[in-house]
């Protein structure tokens, strides 16, 4: 139950990294993360037309649409990282080797965050590239009021970098929930419910006030506000504030996960 010792933490990170990259499943999940993000982004970029000037679409958001699908892959990776250990009983070995349970979770979070950051960057860059190539063909041309998609553009860069952070935060949220719930299957159910139920409820609620509140509180709708580059002041929540809401969710989940990991027997 010690605090974080730098040396111990580094060792813990190395151990977690070994677990992460030696398990074949994780590698495939990371490959899938890139393919799904870029693939869905490309499909949306090519199929949502902009027939006239002022068609009201946000081309940056379209090109990054794959993130809303591929986030589940980041979540699975995170859940398996903890839930997998409970499933096989490896968690006991882990905790015997590293009695500092907080250190274990911190190390897992660091390694997972780093991996998703790296893979997510590749995925988002691929999406932006696909959008850059495909969007003009769908009518997003200067004549219709759209500049070519480029990371040199401030809001586009913010949306792209923010999407990578979004994937990292979703992974951390899932990690915290998995540590708290321990059963991998239940954990993934909780994560998916948390991500999807807020926007689903948003469709049904007729009260505009409540609808706005749901978009501000839900980890998915609030976090994805980071991808918006058009009509910013009409959004229920600002881009960075929205990502902050997701970060808060992730922090609460990690805190809960850490607390339960400490309090309960493995």
């Amino acid at each position: 139950m010690s605090g974080l010792h730098p040396a111990g933490f580094r060792r813990a990170c190395r151990a977690e990294w070994t677990k992460l990259h030696t398990e074949a499943g994780h590698g495939w999940l990371m490959v899938a993360l890139v393919l799904v993000t870029a693939g869905v982004g490309a499909a949306v970029s090519a199929n949502v037309p902009c027939p006239v000037a002022g068609c009201g679409q946000d081309q940056v958001r379209l090109s990054l649409a794959g993130v809303s699908v591929s986030q589940v892959l980041a979540a699975i990776t995170a859940v398996l990282l903890v839930g997998g250990e409970y499933g096989t009983g490896l968690i006991r070995t882990t905790l015997v080797a590293m009695p500092g349970r907080g250190t274990v979770l911190a190390a897992k979070a660091t390694v997972l965050g780093g991996a998703v950051l790296a893979v997510g960057s590749v995925a988002v860059l691929a999406s932006v590239l696909a959008g850059r190539l495909l969007l003009p063909g769908a009518g997003y041309t200067p004549a219709h009021g759209y500049a070519r998609l480029s990371l040199a553009d401030g809001p586009t860069l913010r949306a792209a970098a923010g999407s990578v952070l979004y994937l990292v935060l979703v992974a951390l949220l899932a990690l915290g929930i998995a540590a708290a719930v321990r059963d991998a299957a239940v954990a993934v159910g909780v994560v998916l419910a948390l991500l999807y139920l807020f926007p689903l409820l948003g469709h049904v609620v007729t009260e505009p006030h409540l609808q706005r509140l749901l978009a501000q509180l839900g980890p998915m709708p609030a976090g994805l506000a980071i991808q918006a580059t058009a009509n910013l002041h009409h959004l229920p929540i600002g881009p960075w504030t929205g990502l902050g809401v997701l970060a808060l969710w992730a922090a609460i989940a990690l805190f809960l996960g850490g607390a339960i990991l400490r309090l309960r027997d493995a």
């Binding site: 949502v48 009201g56 589940v72 699975i76 859940v79 419910a193």
Partner: protein
Amino acid sequence: MRTLHAEWTKFRTVRGWVLGAVGAMLASVLFLLVGTASSNEHPQRATALSAGPGGGAVNDSFYFVHRALSGDGGITVPVTALTGVLADPAGAGTAGGPGGTTSGVTPWSKAGILVKQSLGQGSSYAAMTVTGAHGVRMQDDFTHDRAGLPGSPSTAEPRWLRLVRTGGTVTGYDSTDGERWTEVGTARLPESATTVQVGLFVAAPAAVRASGGGSSSPATATGSFGRVTLSGSWGQAAGGWQGLQVGDDAGTSGSYTPGTSGGWTTTGEGFTVTGAGDIAPVVGGPALGPAFTVETFLVGTFVGLIMLTVVAVQFVTAEYRRGLLGQTLASTPHRGRMLLAKAAVVATVAFAVGAAAAAVSIPLGELRARATHFAVLTVPTAVQTRAVLGTGLLLAATAVLSLALGVVLRRSVTAITAVVAATVLPYLLAFGGMLPSGPAEWLLRLTPAAGFAVQQTLPRYDQVLTVYAPSSGYFPLSPWGGLAVLGVWSALALAAATVLLRRRDA
């Protein structure tokens, strides 16, 4: 049979699974309560939508120049013109002012004759009418529509309309010259209605634009009628004809354009009648306004679906993990039969959970909506029953899909994510409004999310215009068609699972 019993025993003795199933039902209902939560500040108290003879919500707002008919009788009149005024879409709702209008008629604007059980909204009726773009129609009791003569009327080429009431039957005829008549159809009025209201009516549903997410703007129509010929036992009240705006304004199908109002004048031997609104079933889309539909009360299905997916996947993956599968297969060597027994157990449990949750959610949701002054689109009991049973079948099919994917993938986390991402995500993407209606409709045709179509109670009628697209809550497939798509997915997954289970070692 013994296999089935063994699997049922496994299911009911694991506390987590039973809790999961019961919890799925409770959580579905709780989720609905959150979804219908309201701060009680609905600005305009929504007037209850009237229900038609079939039980479904209807629009019954129009201008009626009527008189009473007791017993048998008939009415004949030529219609010489149908014109109208449309509100300027740009100024709709905000700018207003009489200036913001153009002339024109919406395709289903109506000017014709009507035999109606009473002046109350939603009462039974039969009508022969000229329309803006669909020729002469005979319509009755809101949902029935038959085509008569094509084309639009003019002074040179009027459309003659005739309705004849004999006992409980009303027969509609049309003619181009008032001499040679063609029967268009017959309709039945309740036998109890001895005195009915008969006369001329005009209605004009709002103009609907499919582009830009869909919106509607008010329209008003004016019909020019020639000399009215009556036969039968008519009340000899002074003056005879009386004008009445049925329904306060134009219902959910729009309202009068700025600067117009309903009314009638006599012109020589004939009449000129101006009206707005519609006599038609209520459908979804922009014209609906702030109202709840029955399917919105079924939003809890998503929670139930996620929870049951977890339970159904674990029902088989737990056996892999604990090594119980070896024993199960030793005692039931026929692997396909074991899988079918498991599928039967989860499907039954999921059906019970789904149907029970839906059966509780619909009345509860209606209660909540009434308490917060929102209108509810009532639907016939048969449709409501279909939605309840369909929700059960939807969850049953999803549970089988989950179980089968659990066998195929053997990893519970991956299987659960696959099922939830395949059912819930396409729904979210299609109805989220980001995708245009083309790709959104294909998502709802091909993915397991098509199954949610079984909860659709908003009807689709050719004689009512709205935006029949996912953005306004319309599935591209029919309720049972959509469920069948999900069923095919489940069957394919179950077949793959059976093959893999035979081939692979446990």
